[in-house]
């Protein structure tokens, strides 16, 4: 057998070289010995076969000639075929020579295709890249390039496709910015002769609102029909973005006919001229008073028959604990396993025994029958004791009766198990307390509620702070005093092991308060009524529906590494529609989707029928006889308490865990959900940018996605990891001590997907140190920063989108001095070149990246194998 020496495969052949090769082979073999004396020359290799290109829509045989840039399904299959098979592989290079730009207007799944030996065909795909530009129709022309192997270009050496342009979108978006009103109640203050309701109206949009009306009603009925105790309508003046208007409505005490429950509503007229279709703002409140005008605290003497040892009747519907596909009283159920994955834990695991959890919220009914046994007496705090006559300092009840957010949060964390009523919490033996932080605007409430106070209240002995709240978002920087508060918590509480701060990741995904990147896009055409004319078909297109309105990072506390940010998922294991996306998320937890069409969270509600949220609940009366429970609690507010409960289980499993141990265990044990989520790629100025990534696996092996953080909390897996993880084994925490800056200003190219890139070299750090979090600070001058997308790329090549373009809170925003945190690089080495990339996704404004820096939070984080 004659053997080839050296590299024989994939060598380009021509007829001439093949003839030479045949000669050389004969010479080589004659000298090689070992062969038969009857050796004859092998047959000459066959002549090169022809290579051809053909197009077809995927799954069909028909050839197509046109592709629509906005048709997401328009993946065209390009087949590379040999006229005859060859024993060795053929490598075909493809060239793009049309007017459409490869990488900017369309993508090829491969630019080089190999047809293996023995095969005749290979295929690849042409996909349009959506853009917002009026470029006119273009041509995609793909031609055969160099061919390696025994083949040559045949007659069908190229293909062409017309790329249909759909024109410019969002041409007038920058004129389409509006204000949005949000109303909140403060108080009321209950005096000897009157009750004063304080209303504040905030403009959470980006344009000044015009004058309208502000109305206030007080009633004996929660539907505000019938007799009105009081009403007043006043002029509401214009309000600037970020501004507010305050008004007091003072109701004489003798307007209330006696002891009872009273309801109040404040609402604005619709600012229709600025924002057609925008709903008017309203807020409901109220109070329960005694005959003398003092408040009746929310611990009524109600009979609730508890049956110790009997399973909680709502437990089978609690899909966050064990999702079997149950509907949880909604119209449709979820899917099995879309839950906290705590089957083993429910059977025989920790229950959070002895772990102190503070519900930092609107309030909490400390005497709720499903919470009371877990409430640690005397530890809660009511910030409104001074203005609510008759209330107690240690009873943080919520005065209004339209639902107490904190009471519902508390049930998810720590409702008592097996008492024969209601539900069970994720950690049903925790010790609960609450601070009604969201019911006050006192200057001291944050320090008091979040571990900075050792008396009235003492929050310094809390293990876990549940923070189911946030801002509407904006260009805010973390205040030094806030950083100091949380640093104190993680450095000093829990005897130096650090308290756990767990916050809702935000509900801003579909909350475009200021502007919509919405337009009509042509998605096809139909035959006209005359049978000839082609009528274009348009559909609404909204880029924010794909990439989100408000990023989770647009809240300063979410850019601190000391707080665990929690996203929300539904009972079908996909993102809850509202759950904000952002690089600051750590993990996700079950929360659901409103509880009507799809399951929400089943939890505790203010006690009593028609007290609380239970008007929105559809739990049958026989299963909720007193109206103490709801099935519709939703929002990242509902996800955070599931995470707090899970963390309580970990702290019971090993009380020596530090706050960083807990973060590590959650990240490492989290499971991927929504695994097939696709990327969103848009072309800007002939170059594409990814506005939503697929799941990434970073260089340390951790999976990350801006929609979910490291993934869904997996309690059983976390506890299994906890069993082997040595406490405080992640090295010394380097708390923002390592800063690397770039101070060379560069222009940001207008409307260009490639953007501008700058690098900073990170060096001089111990090799053992790995990234826990990194914060990028930057200063940008730009007249309309809503256009800007900002990416950070690590030395390992991991890309994190820290600010998506079209972030709604930056509508009409000028210049940025901001800081944004990313967790995507967890466990990676910080050493090497980091790249900041800033793109400007919309035309008409030019800006400059003035300076930027990276602040690292480092430790010894093991890679995830």
């Amino acid at each position: 057998m004659c053997q080839c020496r050296g590299r024989c495969e994939d060598r380009p052949y021509s007829l001439k070289t093949l003839a030479t090769l045949a000669t050389l082979t004969l010479i080589g073999c004659s000298g090689g010995g070992g062969g038969s004396n009857e050796q004859t020359a092998p047959p000459p290799p066959p002549p090169p076969t022809e290579v051809s290109l053909t197009l077809a829509t995927e799954g069909t045989e028909s050839e197509i000639t046109e592709i629509d840039e906005w048709d997401e399904r328009a993946s065209v299959e390009l087949t590379v075929a040999l006229a005859e098979t060859r024993d060795t592989g053929v490598l075909v290079n493809l060239n793009s020579t049309g007017s459409a730009t490869l990488g900017g207007d369309f993508e090829l799944s491969e630019r080089q295709v190999r047809i293996p030996g023995g095969s005749r065909t290979a295929s690849l795909h042409i996909s349009p890249i959506r853009d917002f530009e009026a470029e006119g129709d273009e041509t995609i022309h793909i031609a055969l390039g160099t061919i390696e192997g025994n083949a040559e270009a045949g007659d069908s050496a190229s293909v062409s496709l017309a790329l249909t342009d759909q024109g410019a979108l969002f041409e007038n978006t920058k004129d389409n910015i509006y204000g949005k009103l949000y109303v909140s109640f403060h108080g009321p203050a209950i005096e000897r002769d009157a009750v004063t309701f304080s209303a504040s109206v905030h403009n959470i949009g980006s344009a000044e609102t015009s004058s309208t009306k502000l109305g206030f009603w007080a009633s004996t009925r929660n539907d505000f029909r019938g007799r009105r105790l009081f009403y007043e309508v006043i002029d509401l003046p214009p309000i600037m973005p970020g501004g507010n208007f305050l008004s007091n409505f003072r109701v004489a005490l003798d307007a209330f006919p006696g002891a009872g429950t009273y309801y109040a509503i404040i609402l604005t007229d619709s600012p229709a001229e600025e924002a057609p279709g925008v709903r008017r703002a309203e807020r409901r409140g109220g109070l329960v008073i005694q005959g003398d005008g003092s408040v009746r605290v929310r611990c009524p003497d109600l009979e609730r028959n508890q049956s110790p040892g009997i399973e909680d009747p709502l437990r089978p519907a609690q899909w966050n604990l064990a999702n079997t596909g149950q509907d949880a009283y909604a119209r449709t159920g979820g899917i099995e396993g879309a839950d906290l994955r705590m089957t083993e834990t429910l059977d025989n695991g920790p229950t959070g025994k002895g772990i102190r959890v503070a519900v930092v919220d609107t309030g909490m009914e400390i005497c709720h029958p499903d919470l009371a046994a877990n409430v640690e007496a005397g530890t809660s705090f009511n910030f409104n004791q001074g203005s609510w006559r008759g209330s107690l300092e240690t009873d943080p009840f919520f005065l209004a009766t339209f639902g107490d957010h904190g009471t519902s949060v508390a049930g998810i964390i720590g409702a008592v198990a097996n008492n024969g009523i209601g539900l069970r919490g994720v950690a049903p033996d925790v010790r609960l307390r609450a601070y009604n932080f969201l019911s006050t605007r006192r200057a001291d409430s944050a320090s008091d509620s979040l571990g900075g106070s050792s008396n009235r209240p003492n929050s310094s002995d809390v293990d876990i702070f549940n923070m189911s709240f946030g801002l509407f978002g904006g260009e805010y920087l973390t205040l030094p005093e806030d950083r100091k508060l949380f640093q104190h918590g993680v450095r000093n509480l829990r005897s130096g092991k650090g308290a756990l701060y767990i916050q809702a990741g935000g509900n801003g995904f579909n909350r475009c308060n200021s502007m919509l990147r919405r337009d009509e896009v042509r998605v096809g055409e139909t035959e006209g009524s005359d049978g000839v004319t082609v009528t274009p078909v348009f559909e609404d297109y909204d880029i924010n529906a794909e990439i989100g309105c408000v990023s989770a990072n647009t809240d300063p506390w979410r850019n601190l590494p000391y707080i665990i940010q929690v996203g929300a998922f539904r009972a079908d294991d996909t993102k809850s529609s509202y759950s904000s996306a952002g690089s600051a998320l750590w993990v996700s937890a079950p929360a659901g989707q409103w509880g009507i069409a799809h399951p929400g969270q089943i939890t505790t509600d203010q006690m009593g029928r028609n007290q609380g949220y239970d008007a929105n609940s559809i739990i049958p009366a026989n299963e909720n006889p007193h109206g103490d429970y709801i099935n519709s609690f939703t929002g990242t507010s509902a996800a955070a308490p599931s995470a707090s409960g899970a963390v309580a289980l970990l702290l019971e499993a090993n009380p020596d865990f530090t706050w960083r141990d807990v973060k590590y265990i959650l990240a490492r044990s989290a499971r991927i959900l929504d695994a097939d989520i696709d990327e969103v790629k848009i072309g800007f100025g002939g170059e594409a940018a990814v506005l939503r990534h697929r799941w990434i696996t970073n260089a340390a092996g951790y999976h990350f996605h801006n929609w979910y953080g490291f993934g869904a909390i997996d309690v059983d897996a976390a506890l299994a990891l906890a069993a082997t993880h040595a406490p405080d084994s992640l090295g010394t925490f380097r708390d923002g001590m390592d800063v690397f800056a770039v101070r060379e200003a560069v222009n940001i190219p207008d409307h260009q997907g490639g953007g501008v890139r700058q690098r900073v070299n990170v060096n001089g750090l111990d090799d053992a140190l790995k990234v826990e979090s990194v914060v990028v600070q930057f200063s940008i001058t730009h007249p309309f920063t809503n256009d800007l997308g900002i990416y950070l790329v690590s030395p390992s090549g991991t890309t994190s989108l820290v600010n998506p373009p079209f972030n709604d809170v930056l509508a009409d925003n000028e210049d940025l001095d901001w800081e944004l945190l990313s967790n995507a690089f967890y466990g990676e080495s910080p050493l090497g070149d980091w790249t900041l990339r800033v793109i400007d996704a919309a035309a008409g404004d030019v800006g400059t990246l003035e300076s930027w820096s990276l602040t690292f939070y480092l430790g010894e984080i093991p890679a995830k194998s």
Partner: protein, 183 residues
């Protein structure tokens, strides 16, 4: 049908307040009533609570302020870096004291409190009294204390006074933070 309206007490106070405002009207040519202060990472101009500035006052270069009464509102206006800003305050609404944030270019509420730092908090009660405060709380672990002020004390003036005190390391006004809401 009983439809009680807003008690008249507040309306009467408004009228008296308006008379007071006229008496307290400050000429634009007088010394600027705007007090610069630095707090919570912001440089601000603290505005008087019960005065009007009928002409625009340029308190810092490039920033002009006016305070006028229009209908039921006191209207604060600023022209800053070429943009106009305004906020309406109800004359019969809750007491408010405003500051203009020079970095963010917007009006913000000043809280009736001071944040102070002292080397030794043994004299804290004295400092509270010196500031005209109604009470206070020491956050030892965080290294500061808060002093509550009555509505009629200008926090910027109290902070300036305390800053001159040897026992106080720093005294700063407090601005109302953004609104935290349930998620």
């Amino acid at each position: 049908m009983n439809h009680p309206q807003r008690t008249t007490h507040a309306r009467s106070s408004v009228r008296l307040g308006l008379i007071g405002l006229v008496l307290l009207a400050i000429s634009a040519h007088a010394q600027s009533p705007l007090m610069p202060a630095r707090t919570m990472g912001a440089n601000v101009l603290v505005l008087p609570a019960n005065a009007i500035l009928s002409e625009q006052v340029e308190s810092v270069p490039g920033t002009r302020m006016s305070i006028v009464v229009e209908g039921d509102f006191r209207v604060y206006r600023a022209r800053h870096k070429g943009k106009d800003h305004q906020v309406h305050v109800a004359l019969d609404g809750p007491a408010r004291r405003l500051a203009f944030d020079l970095k963010e270019g917007r009006f913000r509420d000043v809280l009736p409190s001071l944040r102070i730092e002292m080397d030794d908090y043994a004299d804290f009660d004295t400092v509270v009294a010196q500031a005209g405060g109604t009470g206070g709380k020491i956050y030892e672990a965080l290294g500061f204390a808060l002093i509550s002020l009555p509505d009629d004390v200008n926090p910027a003036e109290a902070a300036a006074e305390l800053s001159a005190s040897r026992s106080v390391t720093s005294a700063t006004i407090q601005l109302q933070g953004p609104l935290y809401v349930p998620m």
